[in-house]
């Protein structure tokens, strides 16, 4: 009788209150995306109002500025997808080296890399901006993707997954059978740490998808904006442009920007918890 079958009334109440708090803004988004700007100000915020303007909002969202919203959506997919794939590969390789080999300065290097988690990434943005200016990377896709390849937490997680998922005995046996180091890693090892690859990839994807500060600093042409930056700029200009504000359109765009992560989380939830649990226990 370790865990009871259900919660006590007071626990139900606390859980319910916190659920309302967590879901309230999302509920507001759902009611608001059906409204036009007039209804936004004149009707009750937490309920629907007729007539619906959803289709009109969708049309505005995808046609404003020659449909640049679709471009931002595509950019976000490219940034997050490339960062996730790249940092998974880079972390998997480096984690493998730390897990399976001995080399000079191994311990010191690992500590140094982990310690960098404490350096605020925003403190790095200014020097990265200036260095990219010198190397011509500024205002390119690479400017947003490359810095994301440094993922110390991903490296740490991958090392744990390699420790647990790929016994050294297996490596030795493969070597005796004449397998090359490359074959051992790519064909034998990687499939065994699939769960780790998915976990690290998810964290990297969400991190890159949500990133705002780096693109804000290193990208200045609006065709290179990710969703986060694009919507924020629309919000900024919407109030001051003199045209009819498009707040409800922005809200619809915000919902669309959240959907991929929502789906990823709901379908791959177990990988999240696995990653968080290993970080929590071993940390």
């Amino acid at each position: 009788m370790l865990r009871r079958e259900s919660f006590s009334p007071i626990q139900w109440l606390l859980l319910a209150v916190f659920t309302v708090y967590c879901l309230l803004p999302l509920w507001w988004v759902i009611t608001t995306m059906f409204k036009d700007n007039g209804q936004l100000f004149s009707t009750f915020g937490l309920w629907f109002s007729a007539p619906s303007h959803l289709l009109e909002n969708v049309r505005t969202l995808f046609t404003r500025q020659d449909g640049i919203f679709s471009r931002w959506l595509l950019n976000s997919v490219i940034y997050a997808g490339a960062t996730a794939l790249g940092s998974v590969m880079v972390s998997a390789m480096a984690g493998y080296a730390f897990s399976k080999f001995d080399f000079a300065a191994k311990r010191g290097l690992f500590t140094l890399i982990l310690a960098t988690i404490m350096v605020p990434s925003t403190a790095l943005a200014l020097p990265i901006y200036l260095l990219m200016q010198k190397t011509g990377l500024l205002n390119t896709y690479w400017a947003v993707i490359l810095p994301g390849l440094v993922n110390p937490f991903g490296l740490y997680l991958m090392r744990l997954f390699w420790d647990a998922g790929f016994p050294k005995e297996l490596m030795e046996a493969a070597r005796i059978d004449g397998a090359s180091e490359q074959t051992i890693f790519w064909s034998l090892g990687l499939p065994l740490v699939r769960g780790g690859l998915v976990t690290v990839g998810l964290f990297a994807f969400v991190g890159a998808w949500n990133n705002f500060f780096l693109p804000l600093v290193v990208v200045n042409s609006d065709t290179l904006y990710p969703l986060t930056l694009g919507l924020s700029v629309w919000n900024q200009t919407s109030a001051s442009s003199g045209q009819e504000p498009i707040y409800t359109v922005i809200v619809l765009g915000a919902l669309i920007s959240v959907l991929p992560l929502l789906i990823a989380f709901l379908t791959l939830g177990r990988y999240w918890q696995g990653g968080l649990a290993s970080g929590a226990v071993k940390g």
Binding site: L40, M93, E172, F213, N235, A239, G269
Partner: protein, 307 residues
């Protein structure tokens, strides 16, 4: 972990390993190379460059445009005399001292409640609590910005008041609410996962000793959560020092001072003056403060743990 590469005796006896097949010295470096290349290019180099830049000041010589000249530590001296910057640090310190404990208290309470019972309801709540984390902080800032807006806020519609959540008195709390909304569920899942990893015989032993639910939570589970709480606090401190997106997107909607957080101050100062040397000095100071705060907290947590 141990470093020796023990091979099963049988395998070794059957066939002595051919030397040529052993991993060469270069092998680990081959696997490390991509990470190290990115690490040097996008961490070591920027940090070094920031430190270097921070030693240069802008100086107007004669009538020409301002030039960068070596200024020693004068940017740092200026930072410590810059009342706007110091105020931004005071803001973030006040913010952290209030928001981090509140958020972690809430997260711990919810994790303990969810851990106390099983069933499908628990899964629903976990999902609901976690959803805000999937909302990018800019989008969260944007949405809450509308919810705060004096003329359309449903809170004002319900209460009948005209509260200005974006006024200078309330802005820090309003940002705190957004951060709490985004991150409580994330921290709760981390704590919950740690509780789920505890071997159940510890609970059984406590039960046999006659511990009530409350006692079990207070005297068994809470101490077990200590390492995880330390970790989540460290990550919260680092995150707090970086707060930028939320105040930045709230700026067009209300009164948000430039120095509401050190990061907004850094960004807006550099964007306005293009004084990269001073900006670099502020960035270096911010990184040092974050390291110091995390270090202090770690030491504090370790000492508490020993008593």
């Amino acid at each position: 972990m141990t470093a020796n590469t023990a091979v099963p005796v049988t395998a070794q006896a059957a066939s002595p390993r051919p030397k040529s097949r052993r991993a060469g010295r270069a092998t680990p470096w081959f696997f490390l190379a991509p990470f190290l290349a990115a690490f040097v290019a996008f961490f070591i180099a920027p940090v070094g460059y920031a430190v270097y830049l921070s030693l240069f000041i802008k100086k107007r010589v004669g009538v020409g445009p301002a030039r960068e000249v070596f200024g020693g530590l004068s940017n740092y001296v200026r930072a410590f005399q810059d009342s706007d910057f110091l105020q931004s640090l005071a803001h973030i310190l006040l913010f952290g001292v209030v928001q981090i404990p509140l958020m972690l208290l809430l997260a711990t309470a919810m994790a303990l409640i969810l851990d106390a019972a099983k069933g499908s309801a628990s899964k629903f709540f976990r999902t609901a609590f976690y959803l805000p984390y999937t909302v990018p902080s800019v989008i969260a800032g944007l949405l809450w910005g509308y919810l705060y807006s004096k003329n359309l806020s449903p809170f004002n519609q319900i209460s009948g008041l005209k509260t200005d959540f974006l006024s200078s008195q309330l802005i820090l709390f309003s940002i705190g609410n957004i951060v709490t909304w985004t991150w409580t569920g994330y921290n709760m899942i981390t704590l919950y996962a740690a509780l789920q990893n505890v071997p159940t015989d510890i609970y059984e032993a406590a039960r046999i000793d006659g511990a009530s639910n409350w006692q079990l939570a207070r005297y068994v589970k809470l101490p077990l959560l200590r390492p995880t709480l330390t970790l989540t606090t460290i990550f919260s401190i680092i995150g707090t020092m970086q707060i930028f997106s939320e105040p930045f997107v709230l700026r067009p909607l209300g009164y948000v001072p430039d120095n509401i957080t050190p990061n907004t101050y850094l960004y807006l100062t550099v964007a306005r003056d293009s004084n990269f040397g001073y900006g670099a000095a502020l960035a270096v100071l911010l990184a040092v403060f974050t390291l110091l705060l995390s270090g202090f907290f770690l030491r504090f947590a370790a000492e508490e743990g020993n008593t």
